[in-house]
Amino acid sequence: MALKSRKLYLFLSILTLAFAVGSASTFGESKLPVLTTKQDIRNIRFISQNGKYTYYQRGNGSLQFSTNYSVKEVLKFSPNTQYTVTKGRASKHIIIQVNELFNDYLSVRSPQKIYVAKYGSNESTYLADGIAINLHIDDQWVSFYDPLKKILVLKNHLNPSLEYEVRLANKINPYFHPEVVMLDEDTVLYTDLNKKGISGILKYSVNAKKVELLFKLNSPLQKIEICENEDQVFWLQYGLDPIQKGSELKSISKAHLLKTPIDLSKTKLLYSSAENDIGDLICDQKNGFVQIIKTYRSPAGKLTYDAAEIELKTGKHAKLSDVNFATSLIQMDKKLLLPYQDKFHVLYGEDNLTKFDKLKDRIIR
């Protein structure tokens, strides 16, 4: 009886989802390719560009690692634990976030367990609790934020005695977390809010334990995102409200940032827009280009939001997607994805990962 009702409920759930997907079609179908995988895509937490490595979670609370030939358990917690897997830029390590209370403690800021593992391995080590986690400098350093104590932590996971804390100034936005770029073992750039809520980029010198304001926005109604590629640091600033309209993308070389004093006149303006872009700045997908979610305004004044690529040399931008209401852009092992409704549209990289068992690594599109 219970089984029967469960089946019925499952059927209704599928029907509900089908309805929802049906209504999605009223927005107009995108022509972009959609990521397809052998696994149920909802369980996947990371899949390599060639489909060789997959990290996926199961309802019983375990995180599994599969290669073409084997499946191993990486972690196991209570049923329905939510995992997040991020690979470092050096492709040497991954970090795993564990949220055991994903469905019954709905917090956008509660710290989660952080584990580190070698990329391609199922062995992981507990590191700390926090959010906004990133790997830096050859994947040796981890930065994370403790939103309850309002502390940014920098930790060398290979040498845990190397750990530094920076207390953030933000007192105004309980949901703020910093963006971090580590230039070298002594120089860290991060974002913070001052007492008026104005965003800025600060430079933390680890050895000197000194914080220096590099750059500050004009208004609390603006936000800043930072990211890096091999030799440049980029920041995108945009308004959060129509009364503070406009977006700007700027860059400065890492070499300049490491000099003392820093000469900010070397900063280059790469792109500007009269609209408030959504951002989600991606800086190391393709040489000479960055990608963002850009806000477009039609001549009639209608706003749409789509992925766009900005050429660094010219500042020219090209639309990469056609969904009109894009919200985010993610990078997964050189694949650039646009999550939209129940799909992941593929902007760069192979979209069909169902056939990779038989194929060798392919050249990135």
Partner: protein
């Protein structure tokens, strides 16, 4: 000589007044040489007239020429003294005089409602002239009682339907239509001008205004005679009666309409202005939509009764400086920063329906589901909620605790304070809700008091107070003795809030805070589905839920049920993409939200959305497509793959 007792006046008042000055010669007046220029002439005439009226009135009084029991014949045979009538025309407001031009009976109705003035002030007594040219005084109400017997009879009926017993019912039966366009406004105003109820209706704002001025005098002037004090109290009582009997919207409408009789824009502008703040001032929207924000801007507690003049000033400020709302207006009640600008909030509020008579503090509550449930139940159950910085966190937790303990399916409350009881020789844990809340027996302060009494010699008369680190100042005498639970306001939320318990300046050890307020908002598994907050809300409080799967259903639902709202859970990265960034595959920060309005813009649907981390009074306008993607992404990660957008109605 014109006989005002029976004369039909069918011209606008102003030419008529001019005519009064230019062509009349009066039985008891003597023409003086006038200074050059018409203004000088008018000035002298007015002063001359005032003196004469005053003198005549005093003479009649001292000679006891007051008709105390007037008969119909006496009234019929006399007429209002010409000079007195002229004085009324000189000293009454033009908007009321204009009404007489439309219908002579309005003269009597205006007298009846004491809307006319002579040089002596409000007309209580009329100077009448007999056929023999002899003058006498008569009370206005006695005069009208007799007049209505032989003319303007229907006005005596109006007097009845507007008396204190019937006023409320009569006003409720009238249609106070608000204009949508300039033409519409002219037409509505013209209709009102022709309405014979007008003098009775204009009495309402007139009295309320007088009462408000009386109140100011009472507060500002300390030296008042007994008589003045009595008169002032009488006026305040009358004003209070009207405020009680007539709802704010109707009162405000009448004020605007009666002002508009003189200048059309005074009626039209408030209704043709399309911001929420003006609508609140007009009574078209609930007052708390403006007052809570303004109180905060004026550094006053959220429920402070703000004076109408301050509200008007505040509304003007919000209209002129849109950016004020982005950073101000909810200080001390932590939430997502920055908030939308005043113009966006105004648009959202005009299309919203959530009841928001209180202020909450989402930034102090980690499990955002608690805030959402608190807001939903406050809307549907009209909960009485205190709105102080000390109690806002406890109020939300209290709502959740009640949801768990009301009804048949009692749940164990997860938050507990534990201690080792030496008498019972075992660890004892007591449920608590964080913060201070007088109405709850399990409020943290009360629970800590009980425990501290077991552990120390705290007297029965002392109670533990939960206070912030900044409040606790042991150098002050009041903190030398007593019990305090001290927390760091900059480092405290539901999930993490280290506290020190101090009794008579000494720390008390041995109390441990345990538990986390985790629960299923929507069912997360089959076995415990009935324990989810959704099911408890439906079962305990007889609320009706319905899954809403697409935009059409959403539109129909909101249209069909005027008090219903929608609630759901979606990924913050899709609902608030400017604030939350999705960095990895299948990443989602589940964020509960309430939708309480819908706006069509271009071809898109924009939803009035209150996410559970946003200030309650600052709804955001979010495209349906973002909400849809957010809900869908969360659905795909949900253990039952359930669609989590529901309607909820009483």
């Amino acid at each position: 000589m014109p006989n005002f007792g029976i004369r039909i006046i069918n011209k606008p008042a102003i030419p008529f007044i001019a005519w009064l000055f230019l062509c009349s010669s009066f039985a008891q007046s003597s023409q003086k040489d006038l200074p050059p220029g018409i203004i000088g002439g008018l000035k002298n005439l007015i002063e001359d007239s005032r003196e004469k009226i005053k003198k005549e009135f005093q003479n009649l009084r001292s000679a006891s020429k007051v008709e105390l029991n007037p008969t119909l014949e006496t009234v019929k045979a006399a007429k209002i003294n010409h000079q007195f009538m002229r004085s009324i025309f000189l000293h009454s407001e033009k908007r009321y005089l204009n009404l007489i031009g439309l219908n002579q009976c309005h003269l009597y109705a205006l007298l009846e409602n004491q809307l006319l003035k002579s040089s002596l002030g409000v007309v209580d007594f009329l100077i009448m002239t007999k056929q023999t040219d002899e003058n006498f005084l008569i009370r206005y109400d006695q005069y009208l009682e007799n007049v209505y017997k032989y003319k303007c009879q229907n006005f005596s009926q109006f007097s009845k339907i507007f008396d204190n017993q019937n006023l409320k019912k009569t006003v409720a039966s009238l249609n106070f239509s608000t204009p949508k366009t300039e033409d519409d406004c002219s037409s509505i105003l013209n209709d009102w001008r022709k309405n014979d109820y007008l003098p009775y209706l204009c009495k309402v704002p007139h009295i309320v205004d007088k009462a408000s001025r009386a109140q100011q005098i009472k507060v500002s002037k300390k030296k008042l005679t007994l008589g003045q004090r009595r008169q002032i109290n009488q006026l305040i009582r009358e004003g209070d009666f009207y405020k009680k009997e007539i709802p704010f919207f109707e009162r405000s409408y009448l004020k605007n309409m009666c002002a508009g009789l003189q200048m059309k824009s005074l009626f039209c502008e408030p209704y043709l202005t399309t911001d929420a703040w003006s609508m609140v001032l007009n009574g078209e929207m609930a007052k708390e939509n403006l007052s809570i924000r303004c109180n905060n801007l004026f550094n006053k507690p959220p429920n402070n009764p703000l004076d109408q003049n301050l509200l008007i000033k505040c509304a003007a400020k919000l209209k002129a400086s849109k950016e004020v709302c982005t950073t101000k207006g909810s200080n001390g009640f932590s939430s997502l920063f920055p908030k939308p600008n005043c113009s966006l909030i105004s648009t959202a509020l005009q299309n919203a329906r959530l009841k928001t008579t209180y202020q909450d503090c989402p930034g102090l509550i980690d499990n955002t589901a608690i805030t959402n449930i608190h807001r939903l139940l406050a809307h549907h159950l009209n909960l009485e909620i205190t709105s102080t910085q000390d109690s806002c966190q406890a109020e939300a937790n209290y709502t959740l605790a009640k949801l768990n303990t009301d009804g048949n399916k009692k749940q164990e409350w997860p938050l507990q304070i534990c201690y080792f009881d030496k008498i019972e020789n075992k660890e004892i844990c007591r449920p608590y809700i964080p913060g201070t809340l007088a109405k709850s027996n399990i409020a943290e302060g009360k629970v800590v008091t009980k425990i501290v009494r077991r552990l120390t010699s705290l007297s029965q008369s002392s109670n533990c107070k939960v206070i912030s680190k900044s409040q606790y100042n042991p150098t002050l005498l009041e903190y030398k003795n007593g019990c305090y639970v001290v927390f760091d306001q900059n480092n405290c939320s539901n999930a993490y809030c280290p506290k020190k318990i101090i009794v008579d300046e000494k720390p008390v050890e041995g109390l441990t805070y345990r538990g986390i307020a985790s629960f299923d908002y929507f069912p997360n598994n089959w076995k415990d589905a009935k324990k989810s907050a959704l099911m408890l809300m439906e079962e305990n409080y007889k609320l009706n839920g319905k899954k809403v799967r697409n935009l059409t259903e959403l539109e129909v639902y909101l249209r069909k049920y005027p008090n219903a709202v929608l609630h759901g859970i979606g990924c913050a990265e899709d609902i608030l993409p400017h604030f939350f960034k999705r960095k990895t595959f299948n990443y989602c920060s589940p964020l509960p939200f309430i939708i309480d309005g819908l706006i069509r813009k271009d071809e898109n649907m924009i939803l009035v959305t209150r996410t559970s981390i946003d200030d309650l009074h600052s709804p955001r306008l979010i495209p349906w497509n973002w909400i849809f993607t957010g809900v869908m992404k969360y659905t795909s990660l949900h253990p039952l793959n359930q669609w989590n957008l529901h309607g909820l109605k009483k």
